[in-house]
């Protein structure tokens, strides 16, 4: 690992810019990350986890936002680019249309089409629409920070829904920690390996906060155990096909792989197929509550851990919106409960009658699931 770090630095210098050093010189305050995973491991609790603990202890007095309903709610989000977002958004819709029926006069849905720059523009458009309250699921942790500051100064309360922006200017943050999810995966896998063995890490898309946070959580856990070694890490772009190709290569290079840490069920699906086709025993793996992943796990009797990144965050976020607009005092950090399950509970969550893209743990009524198109024809 240390050799790799040095070649990496050398490599940057070779590109004609001697600024690689700045990369590791970063040691940033709250909410920011440490580029070197090794350095992070030495710190007992990483800064962003400390930040969560600190936030959880504080509250926000919303009396200044108190307003009689109905309210105008703007929801600026990643946009419907995958089925997780579809179900996540559906929880917001469900809360607005059913749970809090009549409280919202109008609803602006800002779709960023999965693009952090586009979100900046959509966000401006949402403000032009003059909302009473803003529900925001930032695409990039950093990108939208300055806009957030400005909105709060305008007197529009901001509730972070799922991820957060760098800016500390917000009412409350409703989420489940990606860092923790990665760490929970790693803890379980480490235990399964008896704290000794070699693992591969399969991530989503390079540079996405969600993806990098999960990986960081995993590495922080794994590096506590001297007997555990990372054989390799690769980005699979949330594609099962690429997950399979990547795992095939890792299988060729390494005669022994004791665990597959996968940041999402999608690339892990591909990994499982690669193990099956190579005729190797499938080691313990990690993934989410994605129906297709569960289906494959059941098919090949895989020993897995699944932790949901809860789609119901959207519902809790609208709860927080209502509290804010009623002028109540709200906690600054709302941790949405996660569910961990494994092989023995699979039949509780797997739904053979629904499509591969369905997410098992949610709060939607059955007719909504059908309406969203998850029912097999």
């Amino acid at each position: 690992m240390s050799i790799k770090r040095i070649t990496r630095r050398k490599f940057l210098e070779l590109m004609g810019i001697g600024i690689g050093a700045a990369g590791t010189a970063q040691f940033m305050p709250l909410g920011k990350t440490i580029p070197d995973a090794k350095a992070a491991a030495k710190v007992k609790t990483p800064p962003d986890q400390l930040m969560r603990q600190k936030l959880a202890k504080s509250t926000f007095d919303c009396s200044k936002y108190k307003k009689d309903p109905p309210w105008r709610l703007a929801f600026v989000t990643q946009g419907k680019t995958n089925s997780w977002v579809v179900m996540f958004d559906a929880h917001v819709d469900y809360a607005v249309q059913v749970k809090y029926k009549g409280l919202f006069s109008d609803f602006f849905y800002g779709d960023s089409q999965g693009n952090a720059e586009r979100q900046l523009d959509v966000y401006e458009d949402a403000l032009v629409w003059r909302p009473d309250v803003m529900l925001l699921a930032p695409m990039g942790q950093a990108a939208i920070s300055a806009s957030v500051d400005e909105t709060m100064e305008m007197g529009i309360p901001i509730i972070y829904n799922s991820s957060r922006a760098e800016s500390d200017n917000f009412v409350t943050w409703v989420e489940a920690s990606n860092y923790r999810q990665g760490a929970v995966f790693a803890e379980w896998l480490a235990k399964k390996m008896n704290y000794k063995g070699k693992y591969i890490a399969l991530s989503g898309i390079a540079g996405l906060s969600v993806v990098e946070d999960r990986l960081r959580g995993a590495r922080d856990v794994f590096s506590q155990y001297p007997g555990i070694e990372e054989l390799g890490q690769a980005y699979c772009d949330f594609s099962p096909a690429k997950g399979k190709q990547v795992t095939e290569a890792f299988l060729a290079a390494h005669p022994k792989i004791d665990a597959v840490w996968s940041g999402s069920g999608l690339q892990c699906w591909g990994a499982i197929e690669a193990f099956v086709e190579a005729g190797r025993d499938i080691p313990p793996v990690s993934g989410e509550d994605l129906n297709g992943f569960l289906r494959i796990c059941k098919k090949y009797n895989v020993d897995f851990i699944a932790v949901n990144y809860p789609v119901e965050i959207g519902l809790h976020a609208v709860d927080a919106v209502v509290k804010t607009m009623r002028g109540e005092t709200v906690p600054r950090y709302i941790d949405v409960p996660i569910v961990k399950f494994g092989k023995k509970d699979i039949d509780k969550y797997l739904r053979p009658d629904l499509s591969d893209d369905y997410w098992a743990i949610h709060k939607l009524p059955e007719d909504w699931i059908q309406k969203l198109g998850f029912k097999k024809k």
């Binding site: 990369g23 580029p35 779709d111 089409q113 942790q141 950093a142 920070s145 300055a146 760098e166 906060s209």
Partner: protein
């Protein structure tokens, strides 16, 4: 190949050349106007001054900077696919090196602009001296720049000093500061293309480099210069992005190259070179910005937004049927 011939003719008949430029320009302005009218009729929010002034703070500004450089490159017969990756790279480099310190603002900004120009120079050298097709040279460079950016960081990094936020977010009276900056850039670019030797050389080189060479123009140098300008403007766009965000974000800049090329072509600049201008490009950028803005304010589902965007682009580029015979 055929397009080159088309341009031969265009070059030889100056009147036709003018007609070509203007008819394309007229079409793009008409499309722009009809979008604007549609927007004002359909949505009261669209007409609001806040919305209109917002254009001075949006991606339109970044895209205009990139597209000015792209226009020059394309007039000279090239293409620059590396600009989006440059925005990504400068976004993380600058924030990572400034670390929110006022004192580092100027030196780091200059370093970034220099780096942009340097990468442009390399692009230009690969295209002219190694004779690699511009599409390929800059496609390779795009991959390399993204690689360096990810090598530098995959997580948000650093921050910019508060004063730098003024560039993208500051207001002068009711007007966004960036609006003045971008208007200045547009004016300068128009001036350069119309009234300087470099500008005239661009059209000559893009129209027919053999003839340009025979008339004593240093073709290679002109081409290289366009890539340097494009690289420098892309670096500036990256600085603008980071001043808008406040923090270095690795998850940006993907797809900006295609957006800028789309804007330039919408604006009537030919991919084969020799034809086009800055005002058309600005209109092209505004069309892209307006499509998004109007559809957002009308709350059209993004699935249909893509369909509508695709159709508008295809209609806008196919109204005008380039002359071949």
């Amino acid at each position: 190949m055929a397009d080159v011939e088309m341009n031969n003719r265009v070059w030889s008949h100056k009147t036709q050349h003018f007609f070509e430029t203007h008819s394309r320009f007229i079409i793009v302005v008409l499309v722009l106007l009809s979008l604007a009218i549609l927007g004002s009729v359909a949505s009261p929010y669209f007409r609001s001054s806040r919305n209109l002034l917002n254009f001075g703070r949006k991606m339109v500004v970044v895209l205009t900077m990139l597209s000015i450089g792209q226009t020059m490159v394309m007039i000279a017969g090239g293409i620059d696919l590396s600009v989006g990756a440059m925005v990504k790279l400068i976004g993380v480099f600058s924030a990572g090196m400034m670390l929110g310190e006022q004192g580092r603002l100027i030196p780091v900004s200059l370093l970034c602009l220099g780096f942009g120009g340097l990468v442009g120079l390399v692009n230009g050298l690969i295209v002219t001296k190694a004779r690699v097709a511009p599409f390929i040279a800059t496609l390779g460079m795009m991959s390399i720049l993204r690689g360096i950016a990810f090598g530098y960081t995959t997580t948000p990094i650093g921050s910019v000093p508060k004063s730098m936020r003024f560039l993208a977010r500051g207001m002068v009276g009711p007007f966004p500061f960036a609006l003045f900056v971008i208007i200045l850039f547009i004016v300068v670019a128009c001036f350069v293309l119309k009234y300087t030797r470099f500008g005239r050389h661009l059209y000559a080189v893009g129209g027919n480099d053999e003839i340009a060479r025979l008339t004593g123009i240093n073709v290679d140098r002109t081409r290289i210069l366009t890539y340097v300008v494009s690289g420098g403007l892309a670096a500036l766009a990256g600085l603008f992005m980071v001043s808008r965000m406040g923090v270095g974000e690795p998850d940006i800049g993907e797809g900006l190259e295609l957006d800028s090329i789309t804007a330039v072509i919408l604006g009537g600049t030919s991919l084969a070179g020799g034809v086009g201008g800055i005002l058309g490009t600005v209109a092209g950028v505004l069309i892209l910005g307006l499509i998004d803005n109007i559809l957002n304010l009308l709350r059209v589902s993004s699935f249909y937004q893509l369909v509508v965007k695709g159709i508008i682009i295809l209609i806008a580029v196919s109204i005008h049927r380039a002359k071949r015979q």
